[in-house]
């Protein structure tokens, strides 16, 4: 019985080659898309779930309420760790402190050295941290981290430094050319799906003893995102209990500024990867909404493929009505026939699934790269197989049941008399409805894609307020004695042809590392908003092309306390004319020396364009210069760069030369968004393609159905245009209806997405018109070929075959 059914099913597939091709590729592509999206979403959701205490680990975060709203930071002040341990004895509390871009010098036995810059994964922590987060120690133990100047390496880092992790034990490393540490432990590498990419874990005591090299401040008013505290709650203690305790804890400890109330609260570990209010130590945060959007697209794609299936199968039902009629006459009852059609669907779904798996597997490396999936994530695993199983069942039911119901429902007499037409299949209005649904979905995706592309190019081409072109930024995080060489190093650089200007600073104009502090102005009570501070020398303005709108940049000086502020600073202090602020005094950090404001710089973007411009002060402070920015002539850049590197190596032989172009790091801000946009684009394209396939199938079917009608019309004198019009009219109307549905939905979704950008495009008729035009073109292309072919057919021939 099964054999007979499958045989018919298989022969049916072979007989209707083009239709089967549409079915199988459409479904296969959609299954591949779903599988890939599922893998990406699952990977993102799996971050740090390998931690045995995942559900009970919390991150202590801070929020500061100001007049402007609430600022969030993932860090807490340094003394908070001890205070928390004291106030919450029932929970385990531990801290992790990161240092980005630290240099590690590996001291080898034969006095040879290897230098590495660790962009991430360089941490300090106490043994308590490892009571909260569990790792497998290949050698040594967390307890060793009680002592100063000891370090533990991850297995891969140990291999990178010493070739074999077993050789690493007992070896010495020089951190940032200042701190000598001994390797006492080896930690097995954590999986790639972690926001705690531990490579080098030094004891916290090392940082405390580093004389400020790692910025260890014992006051309560400095918070850095590099110092984060985590808690492991016992089974019987709830998050809300601790949060309650943290309210009084915050009241007790943050007494510095009455206006800005700081509050600590818990963020579950399960939110660390998703909550974009708080940076994490990993390389990205993925908002849940992003994952939902992707999942939604996957669902869309799947639904579209099912719609195709239903449309094509019911349309084709006419051709199969005879077979169904015969089977009924031969004694097949409705349920037997129903199951036959469902089995056929099942067979097609299975073939499509195989194709889909093949496609997905071959595209996986590409998607893996695009979605930042690291580590050895295999494509096929138990969950995927279960997912595939669910997909098969879901699609078979969704796509198989309705056609099966229609096909099995024919009365044998009408079926045998060939009286079944697409009209009697009853599906016409249903099919139209489904096509409209399909058009709506693809237009939502088209609009979404256009908006995302427009927004990203808007961001890319936005006036940032500074000149990002041809600035080479050299990581110059050196110790204090080395800083004495900066002046002569600068002279050396300026002698290189091709170097226009050189500036030392704490940071580039726009970055995600910000130094925020409270401040005083004009000897008045402290304003309620925090101030961003950047430290830079006098050439900063020239190097980055910052424009002054009042006053002047500060001069070259070691002693005179001059400061430049930005427009937003003046505006926030309600000073209308920027000139009025010149000559006023300000200080930052609550108790620093008073400085004179000598200039107001035109607003430039201090952060990513997702945030608004912050009030900013720029001042000199030599010990805070971590980067050297070199403005280059655009000609012969690589040669100039080589000379700059040579000069660095002459002056700072102990420090590895690492540099990048400012423009690249700016673009990096939007890497996630760009990648996301690319993912959207790819899958939106897939969805549109699938709807085209369906449309094409439907039209080719229609063309066959209407062969006679077209023949008669042509005999009666219809022109080719008339016939094409006949075909396109219906679909054009359907596109319009779909469009009307798509407008509000896409508007709603995309304005939410745009809301996260402070600098954003606004919806215009143009976007909708473009989307409309695109979908019309797509629909016409899909319809065009077949309708032209039908229109050109010789009427004598088409009438004869009837």
């Amino acid at each position: 019985m099964f054999k007979n059914y499958f045989k018919t099913a298989f022969r049916n597939i072979v007989k209707h080659k083009s239709l089967s091709f549409l079915h199988i590729t459409g479904l296969g592509v959609s299954i591949a898309s779903c599988l890939l999206i599922f893998t990406v979403v699952k990977y993102e959701l799996s971050y740090d779930t390998f931690q045995p205490n995942y559900q009970r680990i919390y991150h202590v975060v801070s929020q500061t309420s100001t007049e402007d709203g609430i600022n969030y930071t993932p860090g807490v002040p340094f003394p908070a760790l001890d205070a928390l341990q004291l106030d919450f004895p029932q929970v385990k509390t531990g801290a992790l402190m990161a240092s980005f871009g630290s240099q590690v010098t590996v001291l080898l036995k034969n006095n040879a050295q290897k230098k590495f810059i660790e962009d991430k994964g360089f941490f300090f922590c106490d043994p308590e941290f490892f009571q909260i987060f569990q790792y497998h120690w290949l050698a040594g133990s967390p307890e060793d981290l009680k002592a100063p100047n000891v370090t533990a390496l991850s297995e891969s880092t140990a291999v990178k430094y010493f070739g074999n992790w077993k050789d690493a034990i007992g070896q010495s490393l020089l951190l940032d050319n200042a701190q000598l540490v001994k390797v006492t432990g080896i930690i097995q590498d954590a999986p790639g799906n972690t926001d705690f990419p531990l490579s080098i874990v030094n004891s916290m005591a090392t940082a405390k003893a580093s004389n400020g090299l790692y910025f260890y401040d014992s006051t309560w008013h400095t918070t850095t995102s590099n110092f984060q505290v985590f808690m492991l709650l016992p089974q019987n203690v709830s998050e809300s209990q601790i949060n309650k305790g943290l309210i009084s804890f915050s009241k007790k400890n943050y007494t510095e500024n009455k206006k800005n109330q700081v509050l600590n609260f818990l963020e579950p570990l399960s939110e660390v990867h998703f909550d974009n209010r708080f940076e994490n130590f990993g390389d990205h945060i993925t908002e849940k909404s992003t994952l939902w959007t992707l999942s939604l697209i996957a669902l869309f794609i799947l639904v579209m493929a099912c719609i195709n299936f239903i449309n094509l199968t019911t349309a084709q039902a006419v051709n199969r009505s005879k077979e169904m009629g015969i089977r009924k006459v031969l004694g097949g009852n409705r349920s037997q026939l129903l199951w036959q059609v469902i089995r056929e669907t099942f067979l097609i779904v299975c073939i499509s699934v195989l194709l889909g798996i093949g496609l997905a597997a071959s595209c996986f490396p590409f998607i893996k790269n695009l979605a930042n999936i690291s580590g050895n994530v295999t494509f096929l695993n138990g969950q995927i197989i279960f997912f595939i199983f669910l997909l098969v069942v879901f699609i078979t039911i969704l796509a198989g049941f309705y056609p099966a119901f229609i096909l099995s429902g024919f009365t044998p007499v009408t079926a045998l008399k060939n009286k079944v037409s697409s009209a009697t299949v009853g599906g016409i209005s249903l099919r139209r409805g489904l096509v409209v649904l399909q058009f709506s979905i693809s237009q939502i995706l088209i609009i979404g894609t256009i908006v995302a592309i427009t927004q990203m190019s808007f961001v890319k081409n936005a006036d940032l307020g500074f000149n990002k072109a041809a600035v080479l930024v050299i990581n110059s995080n050196t110790d204090s004695t080395m800083r004495d060489r900066f002046a002569t190093y600068k002279q050396k650089l300026l002698q290189i042809p091709g170097v226009k200007s050189v500036s030392f600073s704490s940071d580039v104009p726009s970055s995600q590392n910000n130094w925020q502090t409270n401040f005083g102005f004009n000897h008045q009570p402290e304003p309620s908003f925090p101030l961003d501070v950047k430290f830079a020398d006098e050439d900063y303005f020239k190097t980055f092309g910052l424009q002054m709108i009042a006053g002047r940049p500060f001069g070259k000086s070691d002693t005179i306390h001059e400061v430049v502020v930005n427009e937003t600073f003046a505006r926030k202090l309600l000073i209308k004319n920027p000139d009025d602020i010149i000559g006023k005094e300000m200080r930052y950090g609550g108790n620093g020396p008073w400085k004179t404001i000598v200039g107001v710089v035109k607003d430039f973007k201090t952060n990513s364009l997702k945030e608004s411009i912050k009030p900013l002060a720029i001042a000199e402070r030599k010990d805070q210069y971590f980067v050297t920015s070199v403005k280059l002539n655009s000609a012969n850049i690589s040669k100039t760069r080589q000379e700059i590197e040579n000069a660095w190596n002459d002056y700072f032989p102990n420090y590895a030369f690492t540099s990048n172009y400012f423009e690249d790091s700016i673009n990096d801000f939007y890497r996630q968004d760009n990648q996301l946009t690319l993912l959207y684009k790819i899958f939106a394209f897939m969805a549109i393609l699938i709807s085209c396939l369906g449309l094409y199938g439907l039209v080719s079917f229609m063309a066959i159905q209407r062969t006679k009608e077209i023949g008669v019309r042509k005999v009666l004198g219809a022109s080719v245009q008339n016939i094409i019009y006949l075909f396109s009219k219906e679909f054009t109307i359907l596109v319009f209806i779909g469009f009307i549905i798509a407008i509000p939905v896409s508007w709603y979704i995309m304005s939410h997405w745009l809301d996260q950008f402070v600098y954003r495009i606004h919806f215009s008729i143009g976007i909708f018109a473009l989307a409309m035009l695109l979908s019309l073109v797509i629909a016409w292309l899909a319809v065009g070929y077949k309708s032209v072919k039908a229109a050109w057919a010789n009427p004598v021939k088409s009438l004869k075959s009837e």
Binding site: N4, K7, I326, R327, V329, G331, G332, Q336, T411
Partner: protein, 220 residues
């Protein structure tokens, strides 16, 4: 075996009612070979469909082997139909996607007969009709006469008591037609009741009784 009483069948076309069958009463005994004749549109095929339980009349009663089939539930009716009635069509109506063997086998599948049993039943009938060599061919590889032979073999496979044939030779040349009619005669002699619809006087002669239809009424 078959007793039709006051059968009416009509379609509503707008406000008019178009009658296909008007007040048909007919008794058929087991072992009869009946030919239904009449011009196009006289209701022959509809009558055959009503007899074959493929179509229900709007009015009247129908008892098949003593059972009032119109009052039966769908399932039971389809059971009677499956086991007692075989259909032969003018256009053969073989399933294009199945081979000769599989076409003949299909009705057995719907009766849930075991695979091994099916095999021997199909083998028997292939043998009897001398089409063993054609069993793996598809319908479009056969001539019209051969296709009709397969159609009849398929109708006979379930050992029906009644064979309903709707112009079985309509698409065949006269030689093939004669062969098929001889086959029907043979079957009838073996005890199978046959009702055929035909246009041809010559074919009608094979039957034991001729029923003439005109405009939905029995006229002779």
């Amino acid at each position: 075996m078959i007793a039709l009483k006051n059968i009416f069948k009509w379609y509503n076309t707008g406000i008019n009612r178009t009658f296909i069958l008007k007040d048909i009463s007919l008794n058929v005994a087991e072992g009869e070979f009946i030919s239904i004749m009449g011009p196009s549109g006289s209701g022959k095929s509809t009558l055959l469909h009503v007899i074959g339980l493929l179509d229900a009349p709007n009015e009247g009663s129908y008892s098949f082997m003593g059972e009032n089939v119109l009052a039966l539930k769908e399932k039971k009716r389809s059971e009677i139909f499956k086991t007692h009635i075989g259909f032969v069509f003018q256009a053969y109506h073989l399933i294009d996607e199945l081979t000769v063997y599989e076409n003949i086998e299909t009705p057995l599948i719907y009766q849930n007969i075991k695979s091994s049993e099916r095999k021997s039943m199909v083998a028997d009938i292939l043998d009897r009709f001398q089409i063993v060599g054609k069993k793996d061919l598809f319908p479009n590889q056969l001539s019209g006469g051969q296709q009709q032979l397969v159609g009849i073999a398929r109708a006979l496979i379930v050992h029906p008591k009644l064979i309903l044939a709707d112009e079985p030779t309509g698409n065949l040349n006269s030689k093939q037609g004669t062969e098929i009619m001889n086959l029907f005669k043979e079957l009838n002699q073996e005890g199978v009741t046959i009702i055929q619809v035909t246009h041809s006087e010559k074919n009608a002669e094979y039957g034991s009784r001729i029923i003439e239809l005109l405009d939905g009424r029995i006229v002779g």
